[in-house]
């Protein structure tokens, strides 16, 4: 029936893309998506309420919106929404199928386990980016909107657009890094939310840690792309800012190592649903 034997690379590409598309569908258009949508809608709902109930005295201070968004981004979007949305999406890539007892169908396909991991990871990244990039952009819009014409012109200025792009770069890199970590956790732990919470604690403590320990967190590198610095409180220990290229390299290398470890774990993966 086949027209000719496809090359190995073409088969891998096709398999990665097939799995990625399937993961995007499962993440964005299934019953399990509800919790992720709810989480992603939280900053939008809060900023909408803020826009509606903002007193007129504050509406005139359009330049304040820049600092306001920076604080919302650092303390709520990045450390809560982006973190947990990635946790919910990526731990389920393998763990969800194990709990659903349907992982064996994927493992019974003629696909290398590392190719499978790459496909799932790509699907997770695409899903997370498709949810979090629009959510961040809309939150940005809702922070500036109550400031009227002045807010809109600030937002659409070259500085405003480049700020937004910098925040979006942070979100996308966070999806790559947190995603790789949570996918690995989903392969190793029966309840990956426990290590996720421990890691959240570590990420939250980062500002108060010495420079060497800071470098063992993702958030340390992610915030180096932030266009507006925020105050982390009196007890925060200052560290020399990381250069953009170093941060980018560190995050991508860490993600690659985590995906590689996930591939190794997937190669050893056995189907024993009764043990779950």
């Amino acid at each position: 029936m086949t027209a000719g034997p496809p090359t190995e690379a073409r088969v891998w590409r096709s398999q990665i893309w097939t799995i990625a598309k399937s993961e995007v569908r499962r993440t964005l258009f299934s019953r399990r998506s509800f919790a992720v949508y709810l989480l992603v809608a939280m900053p939008l709902a809060l900023m909408l309420l803020r826009a509606i109930f903002m007193p007129d005295t504050l509406r005139v201070n359009a330049p304040d919106a820049t600092t306001e968004f920076a604080e919302v981004f650092h303390f709520f979007l990045l450390r809560f929404v982006v973190f947990f949305a990635n946790a919910m999406i990526f731990v389920r890539l393998f763990r969800g199928e194990i709990l659903e007892k349907s992982l064996h169908y994927t493992l019974l396909a003629p696909i290398r386990r590392d190719v499978l991991v790459l496909g799932k990871y790509l699907g997770g990244v695409l899903s997370a980016v498709l949810l979090l990039v629009p959510a961040t952009t809309l939150t940005y819009l809702l922070v500036y909107l109550p400031h009227g014409r002045a807010g809109l012109s600030l937002m659409s200025s070259a500085a405003g657009v480049s700020s937004l792009l910098a925040y979006l770069v942070i979100v996308v890199l966070a999806c790559f890094a947190y995603g790789a970590l949570f996918m690995l956790a989903g392969l190793y732990f029966k309840n990956p939310m426990v290590p996720a919470l421990i890691f959240l604690g570590w990420e939250t403590l980062t500002p108060f840690l010495p420079a060497l320990l800071k470098s063992l967190s993702f958030v340390h590198y992610l915030v180096s792309f932030a266009p507006v610095p925020v105050s982390l409180g009196a007890f925060a220990l200052l560290a020399r800012p990381v250069a953009g290229w170093v941060a980018l390299l560190a995050l991508l290398v860490a993600s690659a190592i985590l995906v590689f470890l996930a591939s190794r774990a997937a190669r050893r993966l056995e189907v024993t649903y009764s043990a779950e």
């Binding site: 029936m1 096709s14 399937s22 659903e100 349907s102 064996h104 019974l108 396909a109 003629p110 696909i111």
Partner: protein, 315 residues
């Protein structure tokens, strides 16, 4: 190196301290092979090992020359119908097969062609676009079978494939397995029901407590079993009618109507009995819920076989 055999060399599998299978040495030739053993004897473990869903703690496995830890090669030549009655959420019958085939790298046209051919072969054409969650047990079993053979594999591994099928469905599936084996494939069918396997297999592998207790031509062990009556439980809407009909059969030694519309029959010739019961059911227009050998009897046969040490094979 390619071969036409499935070979287990000194294979053991332990789940922590618990034994799965122990020192299995096997060589399976093309044709229809029955893997038979009581519940928990290690049949599924053996099949999982063969398909790489489990890794052996010790020993080597080769499926037509391919090691099970090379799924990219193995699953081009093997199809596995597991015992798990679970499916991806929201999948339709045809969507389930299309997804599986798309991972093989076929073109869209070929995916459609193969998916519909497999669906048709298991008699699910009308239900193909419905969600699997709404399928009956028998339909779910059929879609799993379609999934296992839709890519036209050389080796088919089927774990309890007749579970949940009505007598007509069983007959159709048995015909399908026989046809696939006749085409020169390996068809390995597991069952805890000895006579079910006896009915369809050329060779048999008997497993008990994780060890192979007998292996070879099924005719060799059949003689031993026919003198040992087995019990068959029939649940239907007219147990009295079926009872009066089956009691006329020479090989039936007892037919007892149970309180819950069940009928328990003891027969000395299971092959003949299963053939006759299909005829009776069709002739008397009986609605059958279940026809299955009763467990106690199956275990008795095993006790009998294992106790008497029937067959050669490795222990």
């Amino acid at each position: 190196m390619r071969s036409d055999r499935i070979v287990f060399t000194d294979v053991s599998k332990f789940y922590g301290e618990v034994l799965g299978v122990n020192k299995v040495n096997l060589e399976v030739r093309p044709g229809l092979t029955g893997l038979v053993g009581p519940n928990g004897s290690g049949k599924s473990t053996l099949m999982h090992l063969m398909t790489g869903l489990l890794r052996p703690s010790r020993g080597k496995i080769s499926v037509l020359g391919i090691a099970p830890d090379r799924p990219e090669e193995l699953f081009r030549i093997i199809g596995y119908c597991t015992q798990y009655d679970s499916f991806p959420n929201g999948a339709t019958g045809i969507g389930f097969l299309r997804y599986a085939l798309s991972l093989h790298g076929y073109s869209k046209a070929e995916i459609d062609e193969r998916a519909w051919a497999a669906i048709e072969r298991v008699g699910l054409t009308d239900a193909a676009r419905r969600r699997i969650a709404g399928y009956s047990k028998g339909m779910r079993q059929r879609i799993k079978l379609a999934h296992a053979h839709c890519h036209d594999p050389q080796v088919l591994v089927l774990d309890e494939p007749l579970n949940g099928l009505d007598p007509m469905g069983r007959a159709e599936m048995i015909d399908l397995f026989t046809e696939l084996a006749r085409e020169g494939r390996h068809v390995i069918v597991s069952s805890h029901i000895l006579h079910e396997v006896d009915l369809i297999s050329d060779g048999v592998i008997m497993i008990h407590g994780g060890a192979i207790v007998a292996e070879g031509e099924i005719r060799e062990v059949r003689g031993e079993i026919t003198s040992h009556p087995i019990q068959v439980l029939i649940r239907c809407d007219k147990p009295h009618v079926v009872a009066s009909e089956v009691f006329r059969l020479e090989h039936v030694v007892e037919a007892r109507i149970l309180e819950d519309e069940g009928l328990l029959v003891r027969t000395r010739d299971a092959d003949a009995f299963f053939t006759e019961v299909n005829r009776i059911v069709l002739a008397a227009d009986v609605v059958v819920e279940t026809v299955a050998p009763a467990d106690e009897s199956v275990h008795a046969v095993y006790d009998y076989l294992i106790g008497e040490g029937v067959g050669g094979g490795s222990a």
